[in-house]
């Protein structure tokens, strides 16, 4: 584990609302290695976006509250840093791309102004140099006519172009880690593929690690090295991409995979909805929607992440507890679609 | 958001049903309301004609209680009739809706206190002048301090209450003291409540009426009429009403009637804009199209569908407009440019201004009442806006 770039231990993010405290992320561990792409997968409301934004504390506080046992980046605990030190990490070593390019750019500044700000934030470049760098970055992310685009306002660009601008901004200081939160969800399908290609390209060029947040298992299959499956603020299952797809072990992961076209029932869906984040139920968070639910699933805490065959593949499910028999879950991995589709789907974050 | 509050909305706007059902014929509850209002207005008219033709000028209209009905009083009667038939009566007839309002309203404690205070001011202003004689000048009673306080014996000519150690103490005879010319401040405050309520309610009604009509017509007729009306609104909004009023009182003399008329007739610009934009949005909505395709006449559509829907916006805007009217009135009264025959709070503040260093109460008491009245209108307006703000859902 020494070669991990980012290690997050027991991350908890809560929001104080009028109705009570929302436990958006409730004790989550994950890590990202160097040059590696890790995907966090889950449906809307699973807390994956909040988890990704908690890494560099981008969450508004208040109403948010973030706590973790440790968040180590390149060996140093960034959670024990002062706000000022953390600012040196943000944008310089860890960059973010957000889901909605429409809202992620400030409407009253030119694209160039916003990239220049990112450049100058972490370098001593003069205005002219920073502007040149901005044009260079825009060119790198494949924006047509970067020389003129630099003086345009966000409303003059298309959604895909905006997302390219945001990526350019994220690249300004050549970060070590790129956190991409559903960067393609708000875009047209054709544009989605282009943006995804771009991210993969720059990852190779710059030698970056990527933490990729998505609900789209198709995307996961394409880019991930490792996968973390989240549900209702908890990690259900994690492992390398092959073992997750080959051998999905948690009933939730199985159900998710069943939702992919070409798997099991056509458009099979998971019935029911997420448990209330205000007052999460005892036991496994998925228990209410699980076809294999047992008495012990509704007791105590979320089951620990049990190791599967001594590999890195871990599953938070009582069927995989040491000595338990996971066989009831096997066999009919395709037979999950019996529940009626009811979930409104994604995305709403 | 629009969909899940719709049932409440429909329920809520039942009270501003206007005479919609009249067009369908039949003497339903709603047309009874309109009928009642017309009857009352007719009675006021007869009364007015009687006053105009049969009672000589400067003679009391109703000799028994020495009441010479003024222009403002006439307007106030009409306003009260409208409020009775279109606010109180519907609230009484729809107890379920009234309870719903109360539940919603109760959530905002500041607004509840404000509402209570305004109701008190309104009630006292309505009944008070009938029970209490008009404050009269009585020079020998000048500078009486409020009860529980005292003033140096040098100031009052004659001390009504106890006088001890060279100080004159207040009595319950003049619970809030008297002005330098001996007018009882308690009575002045009560009479001032009437004035404030008249300004707020009559002007409010004028603004609502003109603003809504202009806005709805502009939106519904469209074309040249829309253009001309809205251009006019542009000019009117640029023209500072305060200065216009200064010019007008200079040219035509000052009176409360003039104040209400000028501010009523020139302050509806914003309301008209609001109604217009809201009505334009509404006309796009399906139920309007449905009503039109069902053969409902334009007027009917405006009356029945558009007005009830804009009423919440309009009422909120007017509630927030009233305090500035009260401030203007007080300011003008303070400058001696108000109606000298009307005992408004601003006049009392003005009267006590030069005595403030020893007779602090003369200016302070009406000032405090003015302060709280304005505060109350603001709290209620804010609470209404929070509850009904359409912007919250439309922002990107």
């Amino acid at each position: 584990m020494a070669d991990e770039l980012l290690e997050v231990e027991n991350l908890r993010t809560q929001f104080d609302t009028d109705e009570g405290t929302v436990h958006a992320v409730d004790g989550v561990d994950f890590s990202v290695g160097r040059d590696e792409t890790v995907c966090i997968v889950g449906e809307s409301g699973s807390g994956k976006t909040v988890a990704s934004e908690s890494v560099t504390k981008l969450i508004r506080m208040p109403p948010g509250r973030i706590d973790a046992d440790a968040v180590r980046f390149d060996g140093t605990d960034i959670y024990s840093m002062s706000e000022k030190q953390l600012r040196q990490v943000r944008g310089r070593r860890i960059s973010n791309i957000f889901q909605n390019p429409q809202g992620a750019l400030n409407p009253v500044y030119t694209v160039g102004w916003q990239i220049v700000e990112a450049v100058q934030m972490h370098s001593e470049k003069s205005d002219r140099e920073a502007r040149e760098r901005a044009v260079e970055l825009l060119d790198r992310v494949g924006l047509p006519n970067p020389g003129t685009a630099v003086d345009e306002y966000p409303h003059e660009l298309s959604g895909g172009q905006k997302q390219r601008v945001i990526i350019a901004m994220a690249l300004a200081s050549e970060p070590d880690l790129l956190i991409a939160d559903e960067p393609t969800t708000a875009l047209d399908v054709t544009i989605q593929a282009q943006i995804l290609d771009l991210i993969r390209e720059i990852q190779e060029d710059y030698g970056m690690s990527v933490l990729f947040i998505t609900h789209d298992l198709g995307v996961v299959a394409e880019i991930a090295d490792r996968v973390v499956v989240m549900y209702a603020g908890k990690v259900m299952e994690k492992g390398d991409v092959y073992s997750i797809f080959e051998n999905p072990s948690h009933p939730y992961t199985k159900a998710l995979l069943n939702c992919l076209p070409g798997h099991g029932d056509l458009m099979g869906r998971i019935g029911g909805s997420l448990p209330s984040p205000l007052d999460p139920p005892d036991g496994c968070r998925f228990a209410d929607r699980c076809d294999y639910v047992r008495e012990e699933c509704r007791q105590g805490e979320q089951p620990p992440l049990h190791e599967l065959d001594g590999t890195d593949h871990r599953v938070s499910c009582v069927y995989y507890a040491p000595g338990a028999d996971p066989s009831p879950l096997q066999g009919d991995a395709d037979g999950q679609g019996s529940n009626v589709y009811s979930d409104g789907g994604y995305p709403d974050e | 958001m629009a969909t899940d509050t719709d049932p409440d909305r429909i329920e809520r706007f039942e009270d501003i049903d206007w005479q919609a059902t009249e067009m369908r014929g039949g003497l339903s509850a709603v047309s009874r309301k309109a009928f009642g209002l017309l009857l009352t207005l007719a009675a006021v008219c007869v009364f007015f004609l009687y006053d105009y033709y049969l009672v000589r000028k400067r003679k009391p209209t109703v000799p028994v209680i020495e009441w010479d009905v003024s222009q403002v009083d006439w307007m106030f009667m009409v306003t009260l009739a409208v409020i009775f038939f279109y606010v109180l009566l519907p609230l009484y007839e729809n107890p379920r809706m009234t309870r719903y309002y109360w539940r919603e309203f109760r959530k905002n404690r500041a607004a509840v206190f404000s509402g209570g205070f305004l109701l008190f001011v309104f009630g006292t202003g309505l009944v008070g002048p009938l029970l209490l004689p008009k404050p009269e000048i009585a020079l020998e009673l000048g500078y009486q301090p409020p009860v529980f306080t005292s003033v140096s014996n040098n100031y009052p000519i004659q001390c009504v209450g106890e006088a001890a150690n060279g100080r004159c103490f207040g009595t319950f005879q003049h619970p809030l003291g008297t002005t330098g010319r001996g007018k009882d401040i308690f009575r002045l405050i009560v009479y001032g409540m009437t004035v404030s309520m008249q300004i707020g309610l009559i002007t409010g009604l004028i603004i609502i009426t003109i603003g809504t009509i202009v806005g709805a017509v502009a939106a519904y007729v469209g074309g040249l009429a829309d253009e001309v009306l809205m251009r006019y609104v542009d000019i009117q909004l640029t023209f500072p009403t305060f200065l216009l009023y200064l010019l007008l009182i200079y040219l035509f003399g000052q009176s409360l009637f003039m104040f209400i008329l000028v501010f009523g007739v020139t302050s509806w610009g914003l309301i008209a804009r609001l109604v217009r934009s809201e009505a334009l949005q509404r006309t796009e909505e399906e139920y309007i199209t449905a009503a039109q395709s069902a053969g409902a006449p334009n007027l009917y559509v405006i009356w029945r569908h558009i007005l009830p829907n804009v009423s919440s916006t309009v009422i909120t805007a007017v509630t927030l407009l009233i305090p500035s009217l009260l401030l203007y009135e007080a300011g003008l009264a303070f400058l001696q440019l108000g109606d000298p025959s009307i005992p408004s709070w601003g006049q009392v503040i003005s009267a006590g201004r030069s005595d403030l260093s020893f007779a602090w109460w003369i200016s302070t008491v009406p000032g405090v009442f003015l302060f709280f009245t304005i505060l109350a209108f603001n709290f209620i307006g804010d609470a209404l806006r929070d509850a009904l703000d359409p912007r919250q859902t439309t922002q990107e």
Partner: protein, 327 residues
Amino acid sequence: MSFKTYVAQRLLWTVFATFIIVSITFLLLAASPNAQVSQFAFEAAQNPGTSAEEAREAARQRLGTNQPLWERYTEYMINMFTLNWGYSQSGGGQLVTERILNALPYTALYSVPTTILSVIIGVSIGLYSATNQYSRFDYAATFFAFFGYAIPNFWFGIILLVIFGAWLGWVPIIFQPDVPWLSFEMLKQLILPVIVLVTAQTTGLMRYSRAEALEYVEAEFLKTAKAKGVSSYRVITRHIFRPAAVPLMTILISDLLGLFIASSLLVEVVFSIPGLGRLTFNAILQQDTPLVLSTTLVGVMIAVFGNLLQDISYTVLDPRISYDSRE
């Protein structure tokens, strides 16, 4: 439509609106039952080169000849637009324009610092309140806003004057116009009017800037900025303030216009400052028609051009505005 055409169009509209407004004043003057006033309508139509006495004489003659309304109107309009506003009847035969020019500096004396202070204080408190919503500071600021709005400023003024002028004797009760402008004495006598007006002005600005900034505190682009490593101070000043400034501009100017027009009159009367407001007030008391008319028109013109300025600044500030969609 280009920016230039837009400005030209607005300018034309402003001229047109001015024309209408001046015409209305003429109609009001002509319709006034006050004999002295309607006489003025003729005087104003008279060549202003002649003295007040001559003008009055000529006017009386004209009154008899009953010059057609249309001719009176054209002359009146020409005089008004060429700033031939005649002589003040109460000021010892001074030109009206001269009296206005003499009064203006005194209005500027307190309104310039008031404007600067209330914009700075109001906007920064509003922004801070918005970014720290529901904090104790926010509640205190909201309370202050309600207080400042609800307290009648003339009343607030006289109470301050009694406390600090009469009782404590820290400031003079009557404004001394001949004190040197850049002196401690001047500062002392300006403090109270500025406090009163700043209290009134700040509250509106504060509440509006808070409301506008609240539209942006949850905006996604703030997260982008934060992710770049931008400090929270810079987030507020650059990323929230700038977009919020666009709608704020509208309110700012109309609020400040309110100050010049209504509040200044009250405050100048309370503190006896010989500015434009007091000039208007005295003109009304002394039945000085040319002066009343002119001071009113100056106020109206300030409002009209303030509106023009507001529209233009709006388009300059917001790159998203397309000129065609604005009226």
